[in-house]
Symmetry: D4
Subunit: 251 residues, 8 copies
């Protein structure tokens, strides 16, 4: 549809029905929908392969519901993150078919376009039990984007044999997401064991000098293992999203 409208505009311009000035302005404006408090980027799916995702924190339930309705109406897949139950309640009123995962804090509804497209499996690994909610956010994101997923929980380095025992699962994954708080050492160990991209997610688990995830964040950024890239603290969504891009078949 976006593409169709673009062709129409250029045709009008060529036939002189649009001035130069008008053309340039319309070229951009057809690709998003302004609803007062938000400018919904419907074109994002064309550009990046996945529609706009709603970050609920700081938005009212009514705002989230309004944006969600327009995304779904547009035929796109819905993913809303950091969603509290009050957001879900508001969205469900206008979109009864949405699903809420309270651990992951996600609201989802599958659009027309998503199909299993990833090349391999995205494996989500956590250092501890407390990191599971962030893992759930990553898993929900990767699933809704059409990937096969798997996970390993509570395999932190204080008992190093727990992760070593899973070397086959590690070897079989196409992308590995490592989620850890405290010192985040698991990312370095895993990074040294596999030949696929490792995405590290520092979590705010820990206390004292963990400083809400800074210790893990710095540890992962300075990892002695090459091939590890990092996303923001507690950003399970970002890891799941990036892993999906890495898992896509190019061409």
């Amino acid at each position: 549809m976006v593409h169709g409208e673009l062709t129409k505009l250029l045709g009008q311009f060529r036939r002189g029905k649009l001035t130069e000035e008008e053309l340039l302005q319309r070229l951009s404006s057809i690709t998003f929908e302004s609803i007062g408090y938000a400018a919904i980027d419907h074109h994002r799916e064309v550009r990046t392969g996945f529609p706009e995702v709603i970050f609920c924190q700081g938005k009212t339930p009514a705002q989230v519901a309004g944006i969600a309705r327009r995304i779904v109406r547009h035929g796109s897949t819905l993913l809303a993150t950091r969603a509290e139950r009050r957001h879900f309640t508001a969205v469900r009123k206008v979109l009864p078919a949405v699903r809420y995962n309270p651990a992951a804090r996600t609201i989802t509804a599958r659009g027309n376009a998503v199909q299993r497209s990833g090349r391999g499996t995205i494996l989500v690994v956590t250092a501890g039990t407390s990191d599971i909610p962030i893992a759930e956010e990553a898993l929900e994101t990767a699933r809704i984007m059409g990937n096969a997923v798997d996970h390993l929980y509570d395999v932190g380095v204080a008992g190093i044999h727990r992760i070593l025992a899973q070397s086959q699962k590690l070897r079989e994954a196409a992308v590995v997401i490592v989620i850890a708080g405290m010192e985040g050492a698991l990312a370095s160990v895993v990074g040294g064991l596999v030949k696929v991209p490792v995405i590290a997610v520092p979590t705010s688990v820990g206390y004292g000098a963990s400083y809400g995830g800074i210790a893990a964040l710095l540890g992962m950024l300075t990892s002695c293992a090459a091939g590890v890239t990092v996303v923001n603290i507690d950003n399970g969504f970002g890891a799941g999203y990036a892993a999906s891009l890495m898992n896509r078949s190019k061409g």
Copy 2:
């Protein structure tokens, strides 16, 4: 009035009715009003062109009401920021005509003197929907100071065409206020598109390594676009105030 009292004092001094010591002390003291917990700076309007603004955070409702009453009695315009509803309730009891904007958290009452004086329009731009409360504070401030205002919401750089589509609005503004959390990149992009002053307001929107606005603050201070100046995190008032000064016709 302030000026009249000054002339009177110097007259008394010349006629010997005031000693040198007395003169110097009175010179300063006529310009503010002490009410125990506050020293209201009535002279500020003369010096800076706008009366003292009440910062409500950390003040009791009774204190805010007491200060507000004296400002209004003095014929000045009232602007109170970071006002909670309890502050508003207290002020309304003594000044029934005040207006409360809960999103902006401002209490306002127009004084005798304000008139539309700015040269052009102050345009307030936000990166996301969550930045709107800070935008509201900026807009309230700019409006009460006599400026024409306009806004663009949710035009962050992840969908760069959204801001590019608004280039005409950007070109027509006299001052642009850019409000953004997370990485605050919108300030740099806007700064590269306009020939008027850009005031950047980092917001505490985001999580993890956004550190309550530090990421955006540092990003805006180190912007690769020249002409961008910065105010404190979440300081919509400060941006609106500075924009008003920039928008004034000098001479």
Copy 3:
């Protein structure tokens, strides 16, 4: 010239000599010149009213000279900041007419277009003698951009009467730039005395807990005086540039 080429391209497109794809690509590419290590943004002057400025730090003398030559050849005004003498030596070889200010560390050459256009005077104020190099950078920038400038040096708040004695100069300025290290208190005091925009520049002057300018930076961001906006530490250029935008006659 930029505008002419744009018209030509759209004409070719309308006549079918350019495909849609070709048009879009050419639209952007005519406005900058790629020279391998740099993409010179000749269009910036059209957009922002002043040509691209060269930030010399991290660039080789040969790179600076190469960029400078193209800017001047394009008829634009040259301003290079953070220039060491070795940069100047390289630039002078290809552009003998350039001027070097070692205190400000700027290389300048006036283009065809610059004329005195600012509405009033930009006043640069420093807290101490050690802040003068940053003041020089601000002054050079404001001058080359066509403004009348003036300055007050060493009027910090430990001797508050020094700045109070200059109240007339302060009142007459169209924009005031306050440059201070240590605790940066001068910005707050000046901000409370004038009715024009104040741009605060924290400097890295000081030791111990001044942390290379952080103390002054935080002090200026949290200033109790409204109307103060802030630029990066030691960023005299940024202050001069922003002041020039504020001093322009709009319309």
Copy 4:
């Protein structure tokens, strides 16, 4: 018990059974009272001129009451800081005569020994109305330690004439305590106006880049005015205590 042992020791000393040296050494080792959760330092009054002060934060009401009872029973002056009402309620049960200042969050009871002993007046100055609770803590401390006190509230530097108008009060003080949040510039201005010690107290008033008082703290530590010393953020007690030491007549 402490008292009994003290009497015995002094008796031995009087009868020549203890040398002066021996007496002094024994005096220290018997001078605290262990009550399980606390080791009350009754000797502190001898060493430092004022008895142990109770810091209530992190202590249960029962612990505060237990310590308070022993201090008062020892005939010493009672000062408890950071006291919540629940602490006061517990203390009042065992010591009905104590006084609670909810703004200052202090519990006090005058001991036998305190008398007006300071050489001059301790003047407490605040930048804003929101700084008053910290000022109250400083005033309570200075008063209970036997000093004449005075105060000036809301005289921050954005209206510089407010503090200049009070130059006589400033000149007459023996010690000045300056309490300010945000950028804390008032300390530098006052430090440049007086010839007596200035104690600066940064407060956590402000938001964004004030970082709970860091901006003011750094500003005060790097003050361009000599003679300013600093205490911890919001530490009104520490300022009042140090001011009392400075105000004592030595010998």
Copy 5:
């Protein structure tokens, strides 16, 4: 070879020529070579698909040469990063065929095994000219690991059309590495334009509040564009390495 030795050991154990204890110890030790100051991990190539890389910083030239010689002798590809000329001089003495890239600060020698294996092109994009040395390190790394590479230099967001003009190159890349100092906004803009993984590298380019790359680092971690992952400040090697893993054909 590693695999052959493993089989031999297990055969010996099965035949009773190795005790259980001996087997376990040998299992690990065959895979690295200890040379006193280093334990060279020859097994890494098997595990991760690329041999150990030498990080020269903090190592003596003799140590670097010693490690390099063993890696090459083992038939592996050599990559040494952060190499100063003195390191190169030492390595060249024992390995005359190595190549030194002074801008990238890399020493390289191609091993037997490397062949063009990546699925697509790795595109390296910099915001400014000063970021080029880090880009060179990323390019050298990606090249030696068998990838097709391309680059775009100096396309920062202050002139947003420069990157928009290159949308075709961006669309054709399999992985994009974005290298930027100052506020690092380019990563967010690029992240919003492509459907492939984006690796962001903050650089220490900038001054004042850029804090040696922290501003860019935080900006990239908190990017409003999904799909962006981050490596350490100035870590061109890490970005090139991770991009190579992402570019590999799995299976």
Copy 6:
């Protein structure tokens, strides 16, 4: 039991009942028990001499109870830290014999194996009354690990004679744990008085520039007394655990 299973596996391998691949995978997996949300490291007791400890923060009561049940069933000693009452309630349902210490926030149950094994006494010293909860956590940990313990409370350096008076207790301890908030100076003083290991625990007691324990943490890390090692802020458990290791008879 663990050892028995290991022998069995190697026997099967030698007899050809397990392939090489199967052996390696089983070798690791026998030593932990996977229950979905946790991988309980039963082998830890063999490796480190003490079973896995449950860190309750971030875990649901059901998760804690599930893990606790398996540890106890395995015959091991149970120690759960940072346990809230809701955790205790859940654990008591499945393990009625557990003990809860609300001050220390620990849940404990003694296993079969623990016996008094330490060489000497572990002495826990606090600077203030507010540090006692952390001390309780250290004492519970040391006790459950089979050590004799003792404590000294509220002996901070502002009354230096209080700790000097206890020099005999200090001299008799085998390990000393020093727990202090604010500036943490007690660790340095004690470190200079004893000839045994001193473990310093910074606490989050204090306000303002204590920054939740950073002041004490930095003070202890930079202690002028040699022989002092440090654990995380408020980490009484970690100190008790490390002290137990130091107190063990080796061989």
Copy 7:
């Protein structure tokens, strides 16, 4: 002289020889001397009891010499801090009688007015030998301001008896300056031993987590001993100056 000129001006105004405008401007301007790069505050001696002090860091030798000459010509005492030898060389050319202390990095020349005026002795105490240069700066400052001084070096708390052995010197001082790096614990110990003001100076001595003095700074700000105030890191001058104010006889 300053006072005389003031009287003259007011006389002229009363006789109508000065307009109101002229009077106000002259009132301030007579009290400082502008020499282009500096505005020398000759009035400071009247206000604060001591003339302006030259902070040499960031000033050229010529600037320091120029300012010094005017201070001495005015009959005031000269104190220049952070002076390198090149500053001294320049000053000595115009003022042959000045004295340079290379350890303290001070240039001094006694003016007409200074006489021994302090009430008691200022005692400077250091924790280590490495802190001595800062102590020298404090001692030079206190001496030139007319105080009796004494010192104790290398009495840090790791050998607590060293400071306890000096209790008599501590008891006899009127003000104590404690200078310490690393964890700065000495300030707390001394603060608990004396009944006079203690000024703490953190030094940048130490490494690692001492962070150039932050550990000591935070430790001193959060000292558990009341009565301790703090100056900037390495600020021996500030401590000496503040101590002089505290030591003055008021009235």
Copy 8:
């Protein structure tokens, strides 16, 4: 003199003129030697089991030599850390028998008293080759204090089998010192493998977000492995010293 007085005291004790209690108390007060710039703590050996160690940083060569001479003359073992060659040159002039280790930057001379006294072996483990200088400092310290030592270099977690292959050495050690920069993950892995105390030393090896060792420091403080204690960044001496205390036979 110290020695003379000591003799006298012991004579008095032998003749019954001093009780044991009195003797001990007197012993401390005479036990340091003041040499102007230093107060040498000869008693430290009695209290802590090892004489005072000289920290050379910030001391002049003459000062170091002066202190060293007195320590050796007293019959004590000499250990000077952070010694540059210029310090060694000065010390060797007065003490020809001292030994200098340039990698460890230590000057040592064995005293009368040291003998092999530790219970077991202290094992020093490094993550990389660049950490070796810190390891050398730890080894020198442990050796001079009478311990058997061993080391493992370059066994970081990116090649986890390197450390696993050394499990026997790890199991046989009495204390393990783990030295690592970057993310410091090795401490957690080793902590999970052994049943003896682990001392972690963060090093300043790394770049970017390693922040001179902060990443490793935070990682080690928040280690998920219990039993790990931490010393200051690059503090090999502190680790060696603490390990020696832990290795001593108590009673």
